[in-house]
């Protein structure tokens, strides 16, 4: 067995995902009782000790973030669960919420108690209607058990409406506030000024599920998996030319080759049967060659050595017949479409990239594309513009991936 089942419930789990029985079976009822008797400081020091980092893409140390919200001055504080999940090739939060919706919600409650928030929002993309319904059912269960409500933590679900940029944390705040979901300039950071200018803790679904399983067990248990640098497990969403696409939980440090080929993971390369490339981390990710894949593992240092990042955990696999210039063109159009238009490097840059690529620019004007990409990376306000050129830059750096162009 290469895969682990911690964030995802054991295969033998039979209780309904939103039931009181599940709450008990997963140890979450006990975790809530335990945590609500603890002080914010004690909870946060356990989170810090566990080494949990954000799973939404940026891998920011979670304990540090909680501590910052905890210490921030302000009567009113908020907790937000980010379930906007609109990154290309990313579907791990969907599967996690389908299979165990109580976990991430218990994480929200623990977070709210720790930082002193009375109100929380779960922001979910509008296309995940079934998942939203399941989340609402799970919330009802928590309400029926007395964990959710005006005298504990009031939790509301907010449905997005088809805007990739709304997943960026400050844009998401604007969306909840009923404004256009355009990112705000940082600083001030959300921990100091987030929703309605109050200190706000925003975390990805998977991060919050980690919090729930941590308190359903203990730090020792939590540290059983992972590497020295990166503790724990990660959900990877494998798609494209593998025999068994899907979401799998694996320990940090697992080799990319195993992720692709192990019989209980990707199951081997499909399509032509020959690995062509991997796009790791979504539309804003990095293309890797078969040689780079062979020597890399799922850890920040190992991937950093080949210029890549785990990002949201999207593992997109292409056999050797796929025209990656075509794929990059699709990505470029996506970013041009989704740029909020607030700042020039991104608004103009994403359009220019499309024009150049559509006119054979990867072949004929790689230097112009590179300079444009670097300018976008360095001068855009938010993560969208900063990361939009990364996949393109990675393709420019790897001419061997463009032989089908």
């Amino acid at each position: 067995m290469n895969q682990v089942r911690r964030l995802l419930p054991d295969f033998g789990t039979t209780s309904s995902p939103t039931s009181v029985e599940r709450l008990k079976e997963r140890g979450f009822a006990e975790a809530l009782r335990k945590v609500f008797a603890m002080s914010g400081e004690d909870i946060i020091s356990q989170i810090t000790e566990s080494g949990i980092k954000g799973r939404g893409g940026a891998a920011f140390p979670t304990g540090l973030k909680w501590s910052s919200v905890y210490k921030a001055p302000g009567e009113t504080k908020y907790v937000v669960m980010n379930a906007d999940e609109s990154e290309l090739g990313t579907f791990k939060d969907r599967v996690l919420l389908e299979e165990d919706p109580l976990g991430a919600l218990v994480g929200v409650l623990i977070a709210a108690h720790a930082v002193g928030a009375k109100k929380a929002f779960c922001y979910i993309r509008g296309e995940y209607r079934d998942v939203e319904n399941r989340m609402a059912e799970a919330l009802d269960t928590l309400r029926s058990q007395g964990w959710v409500g005006p005298d504990r933590v009031d939790v509301q679900i907010r449905r997005g409406a088809g805007a990739y940029i709304a997943g960026e944390e400050t844009a998401l705040f604007n969306s909840i506030e009923g404004k256009r979901p355009e990112p705000r300039v940082k600083p001030p950071f959300p921990t100091i000024k987030g929703l309605w200018a109050s200190p706000t803790l925003i975390q990805n679904v998977e991060t919050l599920a980690n919090v729930a399983v941590l308190f359903a067990h203990d730090t020792e248990w939590f540290k059983q998996y992972g590497t020295k640098e990166t503790i724990g497990t990660k959900l990877v969403a494998i798609s494209g030319h593998v025999k068994q696409p899907g979401v799998y939980e694996v320990p940090f440090g697992m080799s990319l080759t195993d992720i692709l080929n192990a019989p209980d993971l990707g199951g081997g390369i499909a399509g032509s049967g020959r690995l062509g490339a991997m796009l790791l981390g979504g539309a804003a990710g990095t293309f890797l060659t078969p040689e780079e894949i062979a020597k890399s593992s799922l850890d920040y240092a190992s991937l950093g050595a080949v210029g890549a990042n785990i990002g949201s955990g999207a593992v997109m696999v292409f056999d050797d017949t796929v025209d990656l210039v075509g794929v990059t063109t699709r990505l470029a159009r996506f970013f041009a479409e989704e740029s909020c238009g607030q700042c020039v490097p991104c608004r103009v840059g994403t359009q220019r990239v499309v024009e150049l690529i559509e006119n054979d620019g990867i072949q004929s004007r790689p230097q112009d594309l590179r300079e444009l990409g670097l300018a976008m990376r360095d001068a855009s306000i938010c993560g969208l513009g900063q990361t939009a050129p990364l996949a393109l830059l990675s393709l420019l750096d790897r001419p061997e991936l463009r032989q089908h162009a």
Binding site: G89, E127, R158, G162, A163, E177, R180
Partner: protein, 148 residues
């Protein structure tokens, strides 16, 4: 025209009666309107603006930002994912099949960016239902169903 406007604005008031008149309720309110009317027309923006007491331009600015609210004509939308992973699994065929089935009918076919169903590519979404590993036959029947 006046009386027509009156009707729409009254209907929207009823539709939104239990939504608090707060700026933070604008997105839920717009969702409710779209679920009822399938599109957001200038008239509906005016009605929401009146109902929640938010300036027209602000409501317009927010409503026009979101792609799921962008459905001029108000036909029933069926979304076909044409993003990278679904493209590899034949979303082009799916889209063509859907488009021919929808021609001149009450359903409109829209392309969607990644629907987050890449483990079941190619995918489509009809608002209520997600189609996983969708076949052209299946999408044709969904288009026909949605049109009834």
């Amino acid at each position: 025209m006046d009386s027509e406007n009156g009707t729409v604005s009254d209907a929207v008031k009823v539709l939104l009666h239990d939504i608090p008149r707060e700026r933070g309720q604008l997105l839920p309110a717009l969702w409710r309107v779209v679920e009822q009317y399938r599109e957001i027309t200038p008239e509906l923006i005016g009605a929401v603006s009146e109902s929640l007491n938010i300036p027209y331009a602000e409501v317009y600015g927010v409503a026009s930002f979101y792609s799921l609210f962008d459905n001029p004509g108000g036909k029933m939308p069926v979304y076909v994912c044409t993003d990278v992973m679904c493209m590899l699994q034949g979303s082009e065929n799916l889209k063509h099949a859907a488009e021919s089935a929808a021609e001149n009918g009450p359903v409109t076919i829209r392309e969607s960016a990644c629907l987050g169903q890449c483990d079941y590519a190619p995918a489509a979404w009809s608002g209520a239902r997600v189609l996983r590993r969708a076949t052209p036959e299946e999408i044709v029947s969904v288009v026909k169903e949605a049109g009834q």
